[in-house]
Amino acid sequence: MNAPLRRVGVVVMVLFGLLFANLNWQQVYKSDDYRTDDTHNHIRVQAQEYERARGQVVVDGSPVAKSVETTDTLKYLRQYPGGAAYAHVVGYKSVDFGATLVERMENDFLAGTADSFLDDRIAEMFTGKESPGGNTLLTLKKGVQETAYKELRDNQIGADRGAVVALDATTGALLAATSTPSFDPNKLTIHDSGAVREQINKLEKDPDKPLLNRAFSEIFPPGSTFKVVVAAAALENGVKPDTVLKGGSGYQAPDTQQVIRNAPGVVCPENITLKQALTVSCNTAFSRYGVEQLGADKLKEAAKSFGFEEQTTFTRDEKNTMNVAISETGKMEGPDGNVDRPALAQSCIGQRDVKMSPLQGALIAAAIANGGDQMRPYIIDTLQADARAVYHAQPSVLRKPINGDVAAQLRDMMTNVVENGTGRNARIDGVQVGGKTGTAQNGDAPDHGWFIGFAIKDGKKIAVAVLLQNAGSGGSAEATRIAGEVLKAALK
């Protein structure tokens, strides 16, 4: 019986050999698949992610997002010392509900899994220490951002919703972006998923939609701020600032009974220069000019050259993680394919189907302030791994909507708006401030108040856009005042 006993010994070895071979398959060959399987192995993938301190998001040298150590299974807790003021730029990194905005856009870098960390990971294999993820330095300015949030939240006409965007026109660096009402991102990063789910549900049910990013991701009728685009198209097509246009108290476009009138209090004579029409915001002159001389194609072309109908993305954000909405000029053709002239007339004063995001408004102002060169907007200034910069932003020209002469003429006209026209609330002593107000109707709801503009001082060029959603009467005046405060903060 000894021979079969020995053979049984061999059989057992073969069986164990099969176990060994199969464990090799599962633990070596398939190891990476299993380890990183976020669908099925989510808990471990997540725990792995929280093994490492996530990098900070820094504004002006102080963190607006940081990770602190805890005793939970997930070793670190994400905190936002900047709170609600920065929520619509920094976003949040929750445990079970994903990440948004900068937290999402630079996730690989903050988490320390980006390719630039390869050296660190190799070093870790020897030292056994988990080195933290990289720090992300934003272009935001603390003073500008906090002024923008505070002035917007505490606006003097009680508008609950609104947005501010401020850019450095010479580079495209984002100086401030805020949207109200905002939310406290600290409540969305705690490790109790049930409480976070509840909080998210609450925010989603809020009629004011605090999670909506009105600065980048929403588009609104721009009202009279759109006249800047029409004026740019006119100047590009040979009209001069002092060319006399036909204005008057009302304009009835062909094919319609509807009469476009000026806003109450606007004095617009029959004959008015382009500059004066912009200064007093004369609807009839712009509508008539658009329908009778400019035409829909040229208007659309001008709007497109400023960025309408195109997906604008921030530098380093090819996938549009920052969720920038596309601004639209809308349809201006009738069913027969010909120009719908009543629609064109309304579009020329930023109504009908024209819709613009506050970011787009700021980009228009920035192009004008910067001599016609619209710089690509960016949020990430520097990426630091172990205090060494692995990325530093290089400004680049995104579009050239107008030439330098037209830009100079528009600057002059818009400065006149602030000094002598509807934009007086934005005046700053000793600074050239230009802009355009807007009051946009939207159905039966109260009007939106708008201001887009710029300030130029000692080579510094700041562009700004302010929206007060459904602010009603006085909205544009308050938006203009807030813009002035933001510009003042930016020039400090």
Partner: protein
Amino acid sequence: MTAPAVPMPTPVVTTGSVRRPRTRRNVELALLIFAMIVVALYSASVEAGMIQKVTPDFWVPIGATFVIFLGMHFAIRWLAPYADPVLLPAVALINGLGVAFLRRLDLGAAAAAERADLSPFTGDSVRQLFWTAAAVVGAVVLLFLMRDHKSLSRYAYTLGLVGIVLVLIPAVLPARFSAINGAKLWIKVGPEDDPFFSIQPGEFAKICLLSFFAYYLVRKREVLSLAAKRIAGIDFPRARDLGPVLVVWLVSLMVLIFEKDLGTSLLYFGMFVVTLYIATERVSWLIIGLLLFFGGAISAYFLGASIGGPFANFYDRANIWLDPFATADTTGYQLVQSLLGLGTGGMFGVGPGAGLPYLEDYDQYVLPAVHNDFVFAGLGEEIGLFGLTALLAVYLLIVERGLRAAITVRDSFGKLLTGGLSFTLGLQVFVIIGGISQLIPLTGQTTPFLSAGGSSLMANWLLVAVLLRVSDAGRTPVTLGSGGGGVVAPPQKLAEIPTEVVR
């Protein structure tokens, strides 16, 4: 086949020498201490991994197991002085790791802040410690009562009957007294969901049935070796001799169908076929056995697919095995989590105490049944392929030492009994570890000496007692007979003394 003189693990008396053969008990003690040091190091690194420091009382559970095994060691000195010196340390290593891993799970289930102060006398680890003590006492009692393993053959029929009854009780009992996770392998006492007490009678049935098989086959081996036809160089038995194989095959199929458990079924049948093969030296029995088993399993699969009913459970399990990720959230969950744990561990593991079998924040086990069926997956996440391979090597060592005892012992009954038990132990390890690593369909077997649970520990320690007893018999120098201590004789000659068996 004529075997040459059996190589002994230790040189026994050679010609002309008057030296008394060494018992090797001191080797056993040294190996045991080494095994316990390994377990203690593991426990220390568990605490370092989980509470960032090693508490002063980290050694308490290990110290307790050491005391138990030390008792066993002295019992062996007294009762089986010539027993194989590797068996106890190898088993102690695995059993000790089992206790330490359960301690690790206890720590994991406690709140992070309370871990450092968690008493070593709570939870599953201490229960396992008590079971270990009870099992070792059981093994010592068996060694004491059974001074000669051949005495077992006197109770062969009784044991055979007891074995059958133990196998069939859970099948006959209503599911609420016998089913855990779908497999009817238990006898439960107390509330259905949280039984006060539950035993797996099948664990004990192994030894009982093997005693009977060994006895039966020793008596019938001549008949069963008779060849009827020679096909492709292999002698096939006569049709009328197939009876017993078919009976065991049918019983195994009934286990598969009524106890809904492929593993147990495979275990009994494999145990019988291999004993049959050892007894008759006919490869044809292995071939017939394999054909019958796979035929049965494949038929059960297709019957499960077409008519369902009692075959449905097996069909479902086979499908989970084929593609666990297809049902990752429902029926495939356990296997998927097991694979993810193993894969996350990778080659070196995430380190003792650093795995995630349990999530404190959610108060739930990520890896279900990590205390028993999936203990190997839980360990695999933390000690990696290297650690698991070492563990497999220790299991293999136990099995091979068992087979070696079978080779060295002189009587046929002892050979069959020991060979069968050793193989069964190896097969059980294969079935459960193959199951949790997707090599074969998953079935609810315990991992010998490692899983939490009294039945399994008790039965496997009794098995070890038998191995120790037989190895002692094989290695004890023979003082009778001519030649003055000529121990080693051609084994087949010794095996041809059937009268010794039934005496």
